[in-house]
């Protein structure tokens, strides 16, 4: 029984990993774009963007999943996500990417704005272009500052993926819970915690390594 459960949970964990990886892949760059938009000097650009960030950060991710999946069908009469597991996964991915991009954008904004203006001015008087100042002077300092808050978000994401089951996306908790009905046992559900724990432990080590790599300067 133990091996049957372990294999099933591993399969579920693949679904978790897929959602996790794809969310990071898309939400990190999107977050950078959103952060640049929210720092834009023109109100027509930054007001709507800051409004969206407020809405996304101000409502539960679980609710966002439900609205994004069922909303188009109910309000537009058209389920844009397609049917079956793939459609549900796509909707969940969209919700996660959008939600995490908004959180990341605030981390990026904080990081970029924390760089002293003197760094930009030093770059300017040395005749560097805006791009050179950003990529050669500022960027690495920003990355160093945002590694700890990003690692926080990333570890939260590992566990947040379990919310996807509200729209029936298969992931590890879903598989663990299935044993309650099929075999009348609850320990597989508890057992899923170990998978989360091991994976977030791995991520903690990874981020610790990155922090250490960047500790050669202050």
């Amino acid at each position: 029984m133990f091996w049957t459960v372990t294999i099933s949970l591993l399969e579920g964990f693949l679904g978790t990993l897929k959602l996790f990886t794809l969310t990071l892949l898309f939400s990190l760059p999107l977050g950078l774009v959103i952060s640049l938009g929210s720092m834009n000097k023109t109100p027509i650009v930054h007001i709507p963007i800051r409004f969206i960030i407020w809405v996304v950060r101000g409502t539960p991710l679980m609710l966002q999943l439900l609205i994004i999946y069922y909303g188009p069908g109910i309000f537009l009469g058209n389920n844009i996500w397609g049917s079956g597991g793939n459609g549900r996964f796509l909707a969940a991915l969209f919700a996660f990417v959008f939600n995490y991009a908004c959180y990341f954008s605030e981390i990026f904004r904080g990081g970029i704005q924390s760089i002293p203006v003197g760094q930009y001015e030093a770059g300017k008087v040395l005749g560097l272009t805006r791009q050179q100042i950003f990529f050669k002077v500022v960027l690495l300092q920003v990355i160093k500052r945002i590694v700890p808050p990003i690692s926080n978000e990333v570890i939260t994401l590992v566990k947040d993926t379990s919310l996807a089951r509200v729209i029936a996306v298969y992931e590890i908790i879903w598989n663990g819970q299935a044993f309650i009905k099929s075999s009348g046992i609850i320990w597989p559900l508890f057992y899923t915690g170990l998978f989360y724990l091991l994976f977030s432990g791995l991520l903690t080590l990874l981020f610790g390594y990155i922090e250490k790599k960047l500790s050669y300067f202050r």
């Binding site: 760094q119 001015e121 030093a122 008087v125 040395l126 005749g127 560097l128 300067f217 202050r218």
Partner: protein
Amino acid sequence: MPILEVNNIKKKFDHYNILNGISFSMEEGQAISIIGSSGSGKTTFLRCLNFLERPDEGTIVVKGEKIFDASMPPENPKQLRERRLHFGLVFQQFNLFPQYTALENVILAPRLLKDGRSEQELTDMGMDLLDQMGLADRVNQYPHQLSGGQQQRVAIARALALKPDILCFDEPTSALDPELTGEVLRVIRNLAEKKTTMIIVTHEMAFARDVADEVIFMDKGIILEKGPAEQVINNPKEERTKQFLSNLNN
């Protein structure tokens, strides 16, 4: 021909007039010190020379070439960068790039500007400049491993690496512990002896008197007094200058 001619530079922030018409000229190899109380516009003036601020009025002429005219449309980024390179600026707060070693700080800009020098030539130049600053044994250290005085000397080497026509200093020792000012002032003194054209905003009166050829006293956004260093500091003509200098001595 003067190396620098500044004509009627004016600058306003919101509704405050910070610079009310600054005009002077200087010759190649001269060192000029600008003194004056805080708020007199010294730093703003240096920032205008380095195009960190755009003057509202006035012109700047370097070696006979008019590089700035406030009545002309704003410069595009490329023009701005080219014109900036006539000047170097050493900041009060050093502003070294923390992720680069002393040597990398010095050669980063020349490398990115691709002025045709090879990597080896750049390294040699950087080592040579840091050696002149008395930092030959510090080239591979990061800014946080250096004292304030050492950091400021790296910053001077970094500014010199681009061979500016005129090197500007914005209170280069104000952020330093008193016992570290000497090493920075010594380096600037060496540069003066080598006839480096310099404009130095400073609160170190004795230093200004000994190193500068001329001293400018600024007050409320104008040049109130300008003359040979010894004369302005030891025997100022203007009442306001006397007052400023005697306040410092008390």
